[in-house]
Symmetry: D2
Subunit: 307 residues, 4 copies
């Protein structure tokens, strides 16, 4: 397996952004024997890596000076732009031929701009956003959706397979983001749809478990109905069984739907339900559901007990 | 198997409504050896059954006089009300203990009203709408979703298994309709969502087949993406591969979404995406898509070539 | 003025439904010198009228026996159907030539059915729903939107002008309801739109009063922005200035939007925003806004302070 | 009047962007005696101004060299960014203390970025988008919504009153855009709402003129119902009376709604109807309505004659 090559042969890998997701991802690189050159805007986030033997640097530029393969995992487009093109950004010191992999979930148009800027330095940029949350990051079974020049895909895959079980090549730069955004938009729509259908059925007298069973053997079947059902009592081991704790937060879903919305607006693509799904998650954020799992939309749509 | 009992033991079964769906359903009863007592408001619809040895009658009341098990398959709520409670309706001559099974797709509230009216005559009413279209009706592998008194379910199942491969008990009267309506609402939402996600992805540079593959192994997976993909060229043997001919017509989907809407309004259940899906299928009907398969929403959302 | 004719000349008027709205309306009839024959399903509701000299009866049928002009003001379609066609309903004893005016807000299709049933008895039915709330009912300046045979309009107007300042003839039976439903649907849409535009503007740094002023002199101007602005602090004497108390309740708006939805579904009319407005008011009812004025949608859409 | 000062006292004014709107606006400056320094990316657009005595330059930078008051009127955010910060942009040669007024309709966030960049050069930036179309531009009665430092407002107003009859100070930089975006979002919502309400009323049997009259004296009243009614035959002199030609194009409305959407997404503001209105105008663009007036949404929602 590509990741089990002797440590001796492994050159250092830079990792920028050691937050909830970046932390376990970088640890998996360490576990696979890669010397890690780490940076995070919060110095405390780096300490743990120092103890693990990683080198900690003072800026993205410093990372770029010491490593010719760098992975970035940042919360939003502006952060990514700063880390790459800022005053102490990667591009200040990046070496020709370096491979820069951005696993942040950002606007595909921004990924394309970053790629252009990177290309001018003679380095290579790929976007590789992930699906699967913190749990999958820890377990090393994230899915990576990768966009960029196809010849560089194998090089990227070598690193990404240390952190994920599924690494999919999607096409030119930005298509990794596009794939993620499209998947999450469809996911949000199906989840809200499942919540509506389950809620309506319950009110019309159907038993929730029976209704889920019927949907799952019919054309209404979807991941949200058969794997992540939003109605408490229908399935075990999902956020709806645990008061919507854990899982994929409503704020994060709202963020991804915002990216889908911006991409759709920029490409003049009508997305009537995607757009409405975005609005519903925004209303949920405004009504106290920000930190709950996105399947809590079932709870949001239910009539309050007291009325 | 319950349907292969010797003909000798079979008492006649009434069948009212011999349209696109009722015709092949009734034929399957004949094939299984049931003497059929037929009625349709259009006399021509009955001729074929006369040739098959069925008795043809002049009114629903006449059917009720001669058969104590009756199946009805009608296009809408008012038709069902007329056939049961009209001047020459079933209830005028129904015998005590008769089993009346309505396979029409109608408002569950109307099913409940019919059940009450039937109950007063000492007969039994069950709602048993189907999923699967004309093809499934011919092949005898419809799915029946059945609502009514549980003790009568086996009696209903004996007949329904002659016409369907899947007969599911859903609960009290009206829950068969409820299950169908909820499934189709979720189906419409997922289909539009799939069309939006595929369209957006294509515009962002993704190959449609690859995008479908990614969705289908991720949390966006649904029946509309993995079994009935709306994008031409992604799958074979589906309406999108055949200019959206055949399949489940946009008008019929709009009708079912209208029933969902009425049920949701009556029970004060919020269904924001179901409601929007209804509107989109209404707009499609207004823009010339009435007779196309409901997956043509992909075509509806695409930018016109000429602009 | 038509209402100030000498009492001697006035024949009794029946009034059925003495709730929040019916009570002050019937009192205005009394004030104008009409002997009132009263009925309400809750006997307590009638007491007050006994003290005012009205005759109180035991059933709608009894009212019909004693009065040949009757006004009904009921909360919903099923109530109206019961009062007209029930076991002790008006139609049991209505006299030929009687004028029956229904001021309830109900499905126009139900108004048409009632009109047909009334016509068979030789009496005349008109629908005359009102706009303006309890305050306008007390002050006698409701608006009546009247549907029915045009020749009878003057006779209806004689009574309605005692309770309202504006009596508009809309066309055949059901068009009174239609006018009210269409107005309220547009009102709900404009109100939500105003709330969204004001909220967005405030977040983008605009002063709410200034923004309202700009909208009101531009093409965004509407009754909700210039007469009933939903943002606290912009106007005085409106519910938004009083914690959204009083005014037109969210539940009532949701009810009217439900009627619009049912009418649109039955006539296959696409109403994408009307439908979404309905869903938003349903969600508000589910989230504790049921009894607040419908302009509280501004509050519903705002981000919570604590997040 | 401020614009009638003797020509002798007038210093030159730069004007960049001489398209459909910019052309008549710049002409009005010339008419008021201002020497104009013109630039457009298409040289042909400048010729006409050469004949009118204006100086034509080779780049925005050249304009900035020769004029210390500049008005820009550009089709989109990227154009504005290029004209200000590009290789030959205004900022390359802008003089300290210059007044730069951008009348383009763009993302308020971009206006703020431009303002920051301008401020570094010691010049002043104001956003001043217009409402009113080409006709108002010709007639010199546009409305300007102005954002920027209040002390500079009078200086801006001096120029803007030559082109518009209404110049409103909205607040800090970006609030001019914000006001325009909010107004147009509410306008789009009310217009679609009016189209839906009129269409539903007509189908329920109401005469369109009568319905418009009722709405306009009730709480459904809005600019779209009383000044720009979308139903052919209701009003004269509006696009609906002329096959939806002229007026404010569907594409332009879709563009403004896209800006509203982006602003709402960036500020995490829920705009459920604004978002849906955006989608409806996108679908209209995709279905052949791109060049029709935005009130053609009435036509879009109607059932086709042939079905």
């Amino acid at each position: 397996m590509v990741c089990s090559r002797a440590m001796a042969s492994k050159t250092p890998v830079g990792f920028i952004g050691l937050g909830n997701m970046g932390n376990p991802m970088a640890k998996n690189l360490v576990k696979h024997g890669y010397p890690v050159i780490a940076y995070d805007v919060f110095p405390e986030a780096c300490k743990e890596f120092q103890d693990l033997g990683a080198q900690v640097t003072d800026s993205p530029a410093d990372v770029a000076e010491r490593a010719d393969r760098i992975i970035t995992m940042l919360p939003s487009s502006p952060n990514a732009v700063e880390v790459y093109t800022g005053a102490n950004g990667i591009l200040k010191k990046v070496k020709k031929g370096s491979l820069l992999i951005d696993s942040s979930t950002i606007d595909p148009a921004v990924s394309k701009e970053l790629a252009k800027a990177v290309e001018k330095t003679g380095a290579v940029f790929m976007d590789a956003p992930v699906s699967g949350g913190v749990g999958a990051a820890r377990a090393g079974n994230l899915t990576f959706m990768v966009g960029g020049v196809e010849q560089e895909f194998d090089a990227a895959k070598e690193l990404l397979t240390c952190m994920g079980s599924n690494v999919v090549y999607c096409g030119e730069v930005g298509t990794g983001q596009a794939a993620k955004i499209c998947n999450n938009m469809l996911l949000a729509i199906s989840m809200i749809g499942t919540a509506e259908a389950m809620n309506l059925g319950i009110r019309l007298g159907l038993d929730p478990k029976l209704l889920a069973k019927i949907l799952n053997m019919s054309s209404g079947r979807c991941w949200s109905s058969d794997t992540y059902n939003p109605v408490p009592g229908v399935m075990e081991g999902v956020p709806s069984a645990n008061n919507y704790q854990g899982g994929f937060g409503t704020t994060l879903m709202a963020k991804d739907l915002g990216l889908a919305q911006i991409s759709a607006t920029n490409t003049k693509t009508p997305v009537p339900l995607g757009s409405q799904a975005h609005q519903i998650y925004r209303m949920m954020c405004a009504k106290g559901y920000a930190l709950k799992d996105f399947s809590a939309v079932f709870q949001f749509l239910r009539e309050e007990e007291t009325l």
